[in-house]
């Protein structure tokens, strides 16, 4: 009976948790939070699912191969965004001369900051999920 309530509640809550996490990531340059806090919230969603439904179903949803690739992809994305500035002839991670400078309050201004927070948020989420699976596997 308790199992049944937990499973139904998690299935209802999970989309809202993920949506809130993505909201915090995307509004990183406008309101408190940013890439790290938003990534943790997204990871908490996955961890709740894995706690209630068991480790095997959790690992089925997010297999180890995909988290490996996402972690590498996050840092490479950051570096590539920085190199955009280099390739346009200006300095590293340049926002001023190469990409746009932002206006306050506007979501899609701010040039590279938005893209970088997205990459870092994804990487933080996958790292937290990997840490959880590593610490709770029993041999």
């Amino acid at each position: 009976m308790l199992d049944f309530i937990l499973k139904k509640v998690v299935l209802i809550l999970l989309p809202f948790i993920q949506m809130f996490g993505i909201y915090v990531i995307f509004h990183g340059h406008l309101s408190p939070g940013g890439s790290f806090a938003g990534g943790i919230i997204v990871a908490v969603g996955f961890i709740c699912y894995s706690l209630v439904f068991g480790a095997e179903k959790g690992q089925e949803k997010i297999p180890h191969k995909i988290t490996n690739l996402i972690e590498s992809f996050g840092t490479l994305w950051y570096g590539l965004m920085g190199l955009v500035g280099v390739l346009r002839g200006a300095g590293f991670l340049l926002n001023k001369g190469a990409v746009a400078v932002g206006q306050p309050g506007n979501l899609f201004s701010g040039g590279l900051i938005f893209l970088i927070t997205f990459g870092v948020g994804l990487k933080v989420a996958s790292t937290m999920v990997t840490l959880f699976f590593t610490l709770t596997e029993e041999e």
Binding site: L30, S31, F36, P104, G105, L131, L135, E139
Partner: protein, 132 residues
């Protein structure tokens, strides 16, 4: 000096509290023999440093540093130390995760989480070389 030392200390109570908590954390790391308690001492020390930095950026009577387009001339507190401490929190979580994985491995090897008992088990099984 207009104020005495005691009045100055009470005026800067966040920094005083931060240093007292730093001392408590340092003592916890160095004097407990349980490995988990050492890790908790490290967390206490890092929390005290976060408090120190955030109190550095605070201005009494200021508003949170989010630009309000209705009132662009308000007194914003300094957002830089808070941003620095986000990095500090990430470092603290990484160190905690790593140390927890190491404690699990040590428990599987030695069967105990006490540093003194691990030392005795190691010394019984070691009959060459000298430790200093």
């Amino acid at each position: 000096m207009e104020l005495t030392i005691g009045a100055k200390l009470l005026n800067n109570y966040p920094f005083l509290g931060s240093l007292i908590i730093f001392g408590i954390g340092c003592y916890t790391v160095l004097s407990n023999s349980n490995l988990l308690k050492k890790l908790l001492g490290i967390n206490i020390m890092e929390s005290s440093i976060f408090l120190f930095y955030v109190a550095t950026g605070n201005i009494r009577g200021g508003v949170p540093p989010i630009v309000d387009l209705a009132q662009p001339e308000a007194l914003y507190i300094n957002p830089l130390p808070t941003g620095l401490m986000l990095t500090g929190i990430v470092v603290s979580i990484s160190v905690t995760g790593f140390a927890l994985a190491l404690i699990i491995k040590l428990y599987r090897f030695y069967g105990t989480m006490d540093a003194n008992e691990i030392f005795e088990i190691r010394n019984e099984g070691k009959n060459n070389g000298s430790s200093s």
